[in-house]
Amino acid sequence: MINPKTQNKIAIGTLYGVAGLVVLILMALLGYILISGLPQLSWHFLTAPAKAFLKGGGVGIQLYNSFYLLILAMLISFPIALGAAIYLYEYAKDNWVTTTIRTAIEILSSLPSVVVGLFGFLFFVVKLNLGFSILSGAFALTFFNLPLLTRSIEDSLRTIDTTQREGGLALGLSRWETVTRVILPAAVPSILTGVILSAGRVFGEAAALIYTAGQSAPALDFTDWNPFNISSPLNPMRPAETLAVHIWKINSEGIMPDAKAISSGSSAVLVLAILLFNFAARYLGKRLYKRLTSA
């Protein structure tokens, strides 16, 4: 038997090592993506349209599409997820029906997104005749996103103490008023973090979009902001390849001579965007929390 003190030192040293290794793995990952991708980045790369089989294409439209799709998907999924999370956490009785619903939502979140994408294809694209469009893609992303977002909002609600709810109720407020006026404002920082993190996942999602938003990025006219025009960036009915789909497509059937460079460049852009989301989440969350707790 080793001396407990020595044992203690060894164990804690090991834990330091493990934690260091995890940080190292991330650093290596990020380093690899950025080192292979950053040299490809230029203003031209970020703004130019892609080229099908010639070199020198950019990812401008794909980048724009990614953001537009993300915003639309969030606009659709956030209110639904919020409502469902409120019902599940604040209203639903803890019985087998609630448990079943929770389990079902969990199962949906662990389905491979390609299944969600195909469902979206058959339902939105074909059945509802929305075609390969941003709208179809946004709905598919909503499907993909809802379980995660609902769960994360529910967790955020859980972090707010029940005494806050009792405080509201004891003033003669309804549960709804208490939730919307007391609980939600207090939970905003944590909800926001959850939303932005899930936005990162949506931003990087490819498989659910291949069959819904499509894999082609028709040219856009960035001076035309009339959403009814087909070349308008705002038109939700046009097909829209996103950055993640672009990476997937280039890696599989890319025949442009600089496919590898474009794919590393796009990966770098994707990861940078997600880094940005993360930092934004942290910063905004912290600021909001400060504002709410010490006005």
């Binding site: 407990p4 003190k5 044992q7 164990a11 804690i12 834990l15 330091y16 493990v18 934690a19 995890v22 940080v23 793995i25 991330l26 990952l29 990020l30 690899y32 993506i33 292979s36 639904i80 919020l82 409502g83 469902a84 409120i86 019902y87 599940l88 209203y91 448990t99 389990t103 079902a104 969990e106 199962i107 949906l108 662990s110 389905l111 491979p112 390609v114 299944v115 969600v116 195909l118 469902f119 809802l146 609902t150 003669g172 407020l173 309804s174 549960r175 709804w176 996942r201 931003f203 990087g204 490819a206 498989a207 993640a244 990476i247 890696n251 990966s267 990861v271 997600i274 989301f277 993360n278």
Partner: protein, 309 residues
């Protein structure tokens, strides 16, 4: 008494709060209903397509689960289509279990570090690191797996480099943050006085962690691991890019193999809706769905056991 009646009237009037309450219940319930409808629709959709293999195409369930040859386009000597999903099922389980085995010590070590040893560094460095790892898209993981992990495996073990080992490496990194952050939650729920009591009895920090904190947090950490396994089981793109997609029983860790998701993702675009080949792929999706249900039930079971203790 007039005043009593008046009071009763006032108390029985439907107040604004009561109206808002009904409105709120209706709104939030319809949101939930919508999600339930979506879930039911997708599950029903997958089930109807997946069961068609057995009902319309008359493949026996046993052949599907135990057959070792996956070639739905071809019929075997008995005129039956070759839809043996065993290689994929084995591949999926193998890769899931292996990555969980590798990831668990790392995740728990990191979680203990974050929560017990250096909460300060944990919050400043490790928390953002794990959240970032969650955020990196699986396409990018696959891309890195393909350009780094596979060549390294090939250089070290020979062969093509594609296989369960490469898949495990990629999945290990992918589930690490999930398991870590859930383990942290488990550790955090261990009451502070447990630690204080143990330290007060003269135990070292490690003894406290090992004998008290980890013991108390075991159900929570088991949940975390199962949760990570569920994620690994359902991951598609990244695994598909590095596992090699050979519908063969895996002979060794560096031979190409396949998982349910990789075969599903690879094949679904190349088959015709409604044909046996297509239905067979949906049957794989159905297996995925059922497995996800099983993982969920396990998590619930652990949770219940944890509560009983």
């Amino acid at each position: 008494m007039k005043s009593t009646e008046q009071l009763e009237q006032q108390l029985k009037r439907h107040s604004k709060a009561a109206k808002l309450e009904i409105w709120g219940k209706v709104v939030s319930f319809s949101a939930l209903l919508l999600i339930v409808a979506v879930v039911v629709a997708i599950i029903g959709f997958v089930a109807s397509k997946g069961l068609a293999t057995f009902f319309s195409n008359h493949v026996s369930l046993w052949d599907f689960l135990s057959g070792k040859s996956w070639n739905p386009g071809v019929t075997d000597a008995h005129g039956k289509p070759e839809v043996g999903a065993l290689p994929m099922i084995v591949g999926s389980f193998l890769i899931t279990i292996l990555s969980a085995i590798v990831a668990t010590p790392f995740a728990i070590g990191t979680a203990v570090f974050m929560n017990e040893i250096s909460p300060n560094k944990g919050a400043k460095i490790l928390q953002p690191v794990t959240e970032l790892l969650v955020g990196i898209p699986s396409v990018v993981y696959g891309f890195i797996g393909l350009s780094v992990v596979v060549p390294v495996t090939r250089a070290v073990f020979g062969g093509s480099g594609f296989g369960i080992l490469s898949g495990t490496c990629v999945l290990f990194v992918m589930i690490l943050p999930t398991v870590t952050s859930m383990s942290v939650d488990a550790l955090r729920s261990v009451p502070r006085y447990y630690r204080e009591a143990s330290l007060a009895l003269g135990a070292t920090q490690w003894q406290t962690i090992y004998k008290v904190v980890l013991r108390a947090a075991t159900p929570g950490m088991m949940t975390a691991v199962v949760f990570g396994m569920a994620r690994a089981f359902g991951e598609a793109l990244a695994v598909q890019m590095v596992i090699g997609n050979a519908a063969l029983m895996p002979g060794s860790l560096v031979d190409p193999a396949s998982t349910l998701t990789s075969v599903l993702t690879t094949g679904i675009g190349n088959t015709v809706m409604g044909s046996l080949q297509n239905n067979a792929l949906w049957s794989l999706a159905l297996v995925l769905l059922l497995m996800s249900l099983v993982f969920n039930l396990i998590i619930r079971l652990i949770g219940r056991k944890g509560r009983l203790q």
